[in-house]
Symmetry: C2
Subunit: 296 residues, 2 copies
């Protein structure tokens, strides 16, 4: 029997996971808007040139349908508003958070779920519409148990899916910090400068700044070979635009508060200064303010 996997969030990663997992699992996508729910139920998810059938429900509507696992893929700043919905699922339902950054981790303690997993995923996905996504770079997913215990059968199942690499890490925080360093270094710089990731290597001045920002952040994140790690990502995604660059370009709220702010707080706690990261934070927050004004 196929496991029942729920996915909260109809954004790029949510739709991508739903489409790929729909081949192996009984997938339900929980979305906010009825309009998207109706389209997903009627037309399925289009990933590249293929279409995948999924079930979709609206998060606002109470659902008692049992789920073996519930992935949470919403943006970090949408999490707080989702708490009441998460509590409508039985506390036995394992929750796996794929949310960027680490701003939400303290908040997870308030949930009644018995088993909580933290995960990071490196799939590059672009959302074209409420039901269309495109892969912009293959990736993988790493999960780790934050609290509770996870069914061994389901773990075995998840880690052996063809063409959808999932692994479990005994030290998920190491992976999370690695991704946090990458996002902290690449996202605000590319967003502020409105350049693709590769420019942080090819432009001498930007590269100098990248190194300085990595050094500042890595004083607390302590990622091994931090500079090489970040440079490799810039190289492998040279023509991609970071999510923060895209968000700022489209005058949307960014995830700066989930990515850079926690790093600044960690540095502050250790009484370490971080002038460049502080300034990048101020610049991006200021740009967000300007964009918010335009919406008035």
């Amino acid at each position: 029997m196929k496991p029942k996997i729920g996915i909260i969030g109809g954004g790029a990663i949510g739709l991508f996971f739903a489409a790929r997992l729909s081949l192996y699992a009984d997938v339900t996508v929980f979305v906010r808007r009825t309009e998207q729910q109706v389209r997903l139920n009627a037309e399925g998810i289009k990933l590249g040139t293929d279409t995948y059938s999924v079930r979709s429900e609206v998060t606002g509507e109470q659902s008692f349908r049992h789920q073996d696992l519930l992935f949470v893929t919403v943006k970090s700043y949408q999490l707080a508003g989702l708490k009441a919905q998460l509590e409508t699922f039985p506390k036995e339902t394992p929750l796996a958070f794929l949310t960027n950054g680490i701003g939400h981790i303290e908040w997870l303690k308030e949930l009644s779920a018995e088993t909580i997993l933290l995960g990071i995923t490196s799939h590059g996905v672009v959302r074209r519409s409420d039901r269309e996504v495109e892969s912009s770079g293959s990736g993988e997913t790493t999960l780790g148990i934050w609290c509770g215990s996870f069914d061994e059968g389901l773990k075995e199942y998840l880690t052996t899916l063809p063409d959808f690499p999932v692994s479990f890490s005994a030290n998920i925080f190491k992976e999370i910090y690695r991704k946090l360093l990458i996002n902290t270094a690449i996202n605000p710089l590319t967003a502020l400068l409105n350049v693709p990731n590769g420019s942080l290597l090819t432009n001498k001045e930007f590269h100098g700044l990248l190194l300085e920002v990595v050094r500042e952040a890595n004083r607390v994140l302590q990622v091994e070979n931090g500079i090489e790690v970040v440079e490799e990502i810039c190289r492998n995604t040279a023509f991609n635009w970071s999510s923060m660059a895209v968000d700022l370009l489209h005058k949307r709220k960014t995830e700066i508060d989930a990515i850079v702010l926690p790093v600044l707080k960690m540095l502050e706690e250790k009484e370490l200064s971080a002038e460049r990261l502080t300034m990048l934070y101020q610049l991006i927050k200021g740009k967000e303010n300007e964009n918010a004004k335009l919406d008035d």
Copy 2:
């Protein structure tokens, strides 16, 4: 008899000075391109809705025509290329440099001119074409004698022109440092963020950054009430775009090396750090590099 005033540079300030002074003086505008020279001679300068007749010559062509005063209005980074031309004028011809920043001042020692004036002007001028300019804010001009002596009659003449306020300052460096602080604080921030000057007051994050940048720069520039001075300019020019913002938007070279680099050097000489100003300099230089790449 009207004095003979030469103006080197057919940019916004050069054309504006030529148009306004043409009512009171025998004006010659020295430009680089024959195309612009021909248009200026044939059609005159259009300032707002009025047209002003001027004589124009090409800087490359040797001119022995006597000038009572020669204003130099070219961009700071164009000055070095102009040295040979400046030396074609008799060494008795007083030169008045209206160039932004202070990067060129050491270089002036290499000129054979006997009398050199330094000046700053606060006229807001936008150039629309090779012969059209528009005023975007009334201003005034302050001159000071850097070396040599200046004819008292001409000084009296210049300082009493109707509707074109010119004054002489015994301490022109005080005025230059004041303008340098203003440009150092407003230009790179507005250029990087692509916002008009007023946003540096109305956006809380940007305002915080502005104050920090002013504080860093003013540790060497020592402008009295520096923050109030800069804030007043932002207020009075709230809807204007700084020259550096316009240059970067049009993917042109900026005057960052004439404005911010000398301030950074002064800070370095006094072993004072300036993280924010250093980072702004790197960001703007990096943006210039990106723009240069696009031209390839």
